[in-house]
């Protein structure tokens, strides 16, 4: 009988923090600048430059640690990790090895077998590296230090996960916590959240862990799931054929669906960590922790319970609405303005989701304001516009965040509620569609639908369909 294997997975998740400036200098972290436009002597490792810690980085790291049930290290320090590579301008990365800011936490995930805790070994603060671009023309590499020094936290889990599903659930959970805190937007594709997978296999029932490998370059949940499957199979095959798994770092190639070892003779993997003498310890007081704790937002689980109770929405809707902090904020802010939770939910659940899907966008990318959605709902409620026009206007709001009141006014989209004008149109429609009139009078109820449609068309959709119906019946 074939041996049964168990996969043991731990994750190292890097998250780019949403600070305005870099971790050790006053350079902007904004995306999209010209190469090296967001650099200075500090983040390019100029001789004589010195780092000064961005306080907001500590606040964010603490906030994530508290949300992930960690112990906060009262005196934490920064260490230098020494290795030569062009994306690392000082040839050492400032990180935390000996005294990371958070330790011993956990998050709870939902699995097929119910709730499960994934342990957090530690969370530490560090700086990101620059970007390397290969120049085919001159066969050289070009270095852009705009990302060099962007603050990161690295969340190191315990080897508590056993499947790709658990890994994805864990990542989703972390992402929600961090997004809810506003500490990062956690976009895998853009690299603001990156996961390295440590994986080993062992025979079911074995006590000792097998030899693990570390997998890098995983840019989507899909890639992570595929890499886990691939690596699991590779390791089992090795073991089955009597070979040993080598402890190494591997790079996942998602296009080829395979990984290869990142090995080099020059890569000694001996980082010679030591305390950075240029930075002083961070002493975190009880009061500081309390302050950060107090500022923690309502997280998803609490929010879901509250939505159920307060707004009486279906579970499915609540799931979508709280699925991102941005969506939940939009929902709550709009409700606060218009007082119509079900209507707001409906706009977000139906039209918004449709447009997101059509335009291949994520909920985080929604740019319209709660004010404009609230106004739109108001216009519909007061019957100033009808449903069809409202959908049209919403698309404008979704795309350009226009003011619907102004837009309706300027484009003459208000529903015509003036009975006189409407009566005139209805009379014209009756006069010019004798066949349908005839059919209706002969008991063909359906024919009235055609006449309503014709009237609406003549009114360019601005009529109140209820009123059109009423008038038609009256005049026929």
């Amino acid at each position: 009988m074939a041996k049964q294997y168990e996969t043991v997975i731990g994750l190292e998740v890097h998250v780019e923090l949403a600070t305005k400036t870099k971790i050790f200098c006053g350079c902007s972290t904004a995306f999209g600048a010209e190469p090296n436009a967001h650099t200075c002597p500090v983040c390019t490792g100029m001789p004589g430059s010195l780092p000064v810690l961005n306080k907001q980085v500590v606040e964010y790291a603490m906030a994530v640690g508290i949300a992930a049930n960690c112990e906060i290290t009262r005196v934490c320090k920064f260490d230098r990790k020494n290795y030569f590579y062009p994306d690392n301008p000082q040839n050492y990365q400032i990180s935390q090895l000996y005294l990371p800011i958070c330790r011993n936490g956990y998050v709870e995930i939902e699995t097929a077998d119910g709730k499960k805790r994934v342990g957090i070994h530690e969370i530490h603060m560090e700086e990101d590296a620059g970007k390397l671009i290969h120049d085919e023309w001159e066969d050289c590499t070009l270095v852009d230090y705009n990302r060099s020094g962007v603050p990161l936290i690295e969340i190191v889990s315990e080897p508590d996960m056993r499947s790709a599903e658990e890994v994805i659930a864990y990542l989703e959970k972390l992402r929600l916590i961090i997004q809810y805190l506003g500490a990062s937007d956690c976009k895998l594709q853009e690299g603001s959240m990156r996961a390295d997978v440590n994986l080993s296999v062992r025979e079911v029932g074995a006590e000792k862990f097998g030899t693990r490998t570390e997998m890098k370059n995983l840019n989507s949940f899909r890639a992570i799931a595929r890499a886990i499957e691939g690596e699991k199979e590779r390791q089992i095959e090795l073991l089955e054929s009597g070979q040993a798994v080598v402890q190494e770092t591997r790079r996942w190639d998602d296009a080829k669906e395979e990984s290869y070892a990142m090995r080099s003779k020059e890569d000694a993997q001996d980082y010679r960590y030591f305390p950075d003498p240029d930075l002083v310890p961070v002493h975190i007081s009880e009061e500081w922790i309390e302050r950060v704790k107090k500022a923690q937002p309502e997280f998803r689980d609490e929010k879901m319970a509250r939505y159920k109770q307060e707004f009486d929405l279906p579970d499915y809707d609540i799931d979508i609405l709280t699925g991102t902090k941005h969506m939940a904020d939009l929902f709550e802010q709009t409700v606060a303005l218009c007082g119509q939770p079900k209507k707001v939910s409906n706009w977000l659940m139906v039209e918004t989701m449709r447009l997101l899907k059509e335009q291949e966008m994520e909920p985080e990318d929604i740019r319209f304001s709660p004010e404009n959605l609230a106004k739109l709902i108001g216009l519909v409620e007061s019957r100033a516009i009808n449903g069809t026009v409202a959908k049209e206007v919403f698309e404008k709001i979704f795309d350009e965040d226009i003011d619907p009141e102004q837009y309706v006014e300027e484009n003459g989209l208000k529903t015509v509620n003036d009975e006189g004008a409407l009566r005139k149109t209805v009379e014209d429609i009756i006069a010019s569609n004798p066949q349908s009139v005839e059919d209706y009078r002969n008991g063909k109820e359906k024919a009235i639908g055609f006449l309503v449609g014709q009237t609406m068309k003549a009114m360019k959709g601005k009529a109140d369909p209820g009123m059109v119906n009423k008038l038609l019946k009256e005049l026929l």
Binding site: P41, T44, G45, M46, P47, G48, S49, L50, P51, V52, L53, R80, N82, F84, P86, P89, Q90, N91, Y92, T141, V143, S264, E266, D270, R272, Y273, F274, P277, D278, L279, V280
Partner: protein, 542 residues
């Protein structure tokens, strides 16, 4: 002819930038002016920095005259002393004009306004070559100035150029420079000490009025001692390290090299500022150091560590230092001997920590962002290796290798961590001593300046010469060195005073009192000085 010969002193493949343009161009085309000025030049050079600033303020001397006098002196002496790596004559004269205007307008009134200064070549100076006396930075033009340099500029000092040093401050003789050795103005067969040897020799040789140095294990105090000038390492964190190219970050500190204790206090006052760009910079309110220039040591408790007077100490040095202690005793100080302990452990502790930090600090010199890059290479790692192997000298490589080793996997605890623990014990030993004494007094080095070439042959011996200076860096304490005599060969002997952290004022007061009692120490070739200037003028063939 002359100019060509000079070019050889310039850093490796230095492009003729603005910073060194006009290096040896005479200021005036007309030689007659020199003869007229000769007398005044000699007088001007005699002044201390503070005296010169007073004369300038009183309109007895102009800033331009001071700069002219210094450059005349440089032209006369530089060939034999080689204190400078880079000179910025054009910039200095331009700056002299600006400073003069500000002084005349009453905008600059400080104690250093208009005074020409030399900067050790490991401090960044915007647009002016900063090489650390290394080939690897041979063409490096910083885009910002070190905070200490900026503070001097704010005070109205005029920067003359950059002084020679041991490569990356690693050495005790200024012989590890990639740009040639500096010689001791008292005897050119001897070294000036190091690593701030160029700064010390420039002050002693009157090629500047004062200079900035940096001190990681004695690099200000020891050359000050060898060259018979005053040098001070302040408490760690007192002067910003921003813009100081790091050697051992937890030990490095910038300080003055100057003609007397009064200058020392004035310079320290100008450069001590809290700098938010340096996380280890300390906010102090007691930086009015000139207030401590008080001739009074009555009741001052001075401890003499027996451990500093043991084997290896030259007898002439011992006598001179003990005589200085006696002088202070006569002035009313309470002087006693005591056991400091752990002195012999300071050197291995220091070399472990400094080498480890240096190995990391010097990783950034990789041929990518600035400085030297090897001509030909195969691939990235070969480029790194060739660039660094060709760019660094033997002493720097020695320390990088040692530092990388003590931090490497499996050795960190045994070496680096152990050294950090011993450092804590050394600090504790000083804390105990300062519970009893205000000031610790001893020699700055076991001998006077060795002959050129004597130290490099045996690195271990060179390291042992740092025994009296390095524990002060480990403990972050302030130390001052001032001349207290000469040996039979006429070489200066340095007296070192060590204070508790933040107690620079006690040091200044004690040093000032001793200096008053000692009287003028003098300069190397006072009697020949006028002739030297004249000779230069003649040799220019005018």
């Amino acid at each position: 002819m002359r100019r060509e010969k000079r070019t050889a002193c310039l850093p490796y493949r230095v492009p003729l930038t603005k910073a060194c343009r006009g290096y040896w161009l005479p200021t005036h085309g007309n030689g007659d002016q020199w003869t007229d000025m000769e007398e005044k030049t000699v007088d001007i050079l005699k002044y201390t920095a503070v005296e010169l600033a007073e004369k300038i303020k009183a309109k007895e001397v102009t800033v331009k005259e001071a700069v002219e006098a210094v450059f005349a002196r440089i032209e006369a002496k530089e060939e034999s002393l080689h204190c400078y790596v880079t000179l910025d004559k054009e910039g200095a004269f331009q700056r002299a004009e600006e400073v003069q205007k500000k002084i005349d307008a009453g905008e600059l009134t400080g104690r250093l306004a208009g005074v020409p200064v030399a900067i050790k070549d490991n401090m960044c100076t915007e647009g002016m070559l900063t090489t650390c006396s290394s080939k690897i930075l041979g063409n490096f033009l910083p885009t910002f100035s070190a905070e200490a340099v900026r503070n001097l500029e704010k005070a109205g000092a005029v920067i003359l150029g950059k002084t020679n040093m041991d490569e990356f401050a690693m050495g005790s003789t200024t012989e590890t420079s990639a740009y040639g050795v500096t010689r001791n103005p008292w005897n050119t067969e001897h070294v000036p000490g190091g690593s701030s040897g160029g700064s010390a020799a420039a002050v002693a040789g009157e090629e500047c009025y004062f200079a900035l140095g940096s001190d990681t294990g004695g690099s200000i105090r020891q050359p000050a001692g060898y060259c018979g000038v005053v040098g001070m390492k302040p408490t760690y964190g007192t002067v910003s390290r921003y813009g100081l190219i790091a050697y051992g970050s937890s030990l490095d500190q910038i300080g003055p090299l100057c003609k007397d204790v009064t200058d020392c206090a004035a310079i320290l006052e100008a450069i001590s500022t809290h700098d938010p760009k340096d996380s280890t910079s300390i906010s102090r309110e007691d930086t009015d150091f000139t207030k401590a220039l008080v001739e009074d040591v009555r009741g001052m408790r001075i401890g003499i560590p027996r451990d500093y007077f043991g084997e290896g100490l030259d007898s002439e040095v011992r006598e001179a230092v003990l005589a200085a202690a006696e002088t202070l005793k006569e002035k009313g100080a309470v002087v006693e001997e005591f056991d400091l302990s752990l002195v012999e452990y300071a050197i291995p502790t220091y070399y472990t920590i400094a080498a480890a930090e240096a190995s990391s600090n010097l990783e950034r010199f990789d041929g990518i962002k600035y400085g030297y890059r090897t001509e030909s290479f195969e691939g990235l790692h070969n480029m790194y290796k060739k660039t660094r192997s060709e760019g660094f000298g033997p002493e720097v490589k020695r320390r990088i290798m040692l530092g990388s080793f003590v931090l490497s996997s499996g050795y960190y605890d045994a070496y680096y961590l152990k050294a950090l623990k011993v450092k804590a014990l050394i600090k504790k030993a000083f804390d105990d001593a300062f519970a009893k004494y205000n000031v610790i007094l001893g020699p700055v080095a076991p001998t006077t300046a060795p002959r050129l070439g004597e130290s490099l042959s045996d690195p271990m011996k060179m390291y042992l010469g740092d025994i009296y200076t390095i524990s002060i860096n480990l403990a972050g304490l302030p130390g001052i060195c001032l001349p207290c005599g000469k040996d039979s060969r006429g070489l200066p002997i340095g007296l070192q005073l060590i204070g508790d952290c933040f107690q620079e004022k006690k040091l200044i007061q004690t040093a000032y009192t001793y200096e008053c009692a000692r009287g003028k120490f003098g300069v190397p070739d006072a009697e020949n000085r006028g002739k030297a200037v004249q000779k230069t003028e003649e040799s220019e063939g005018r």
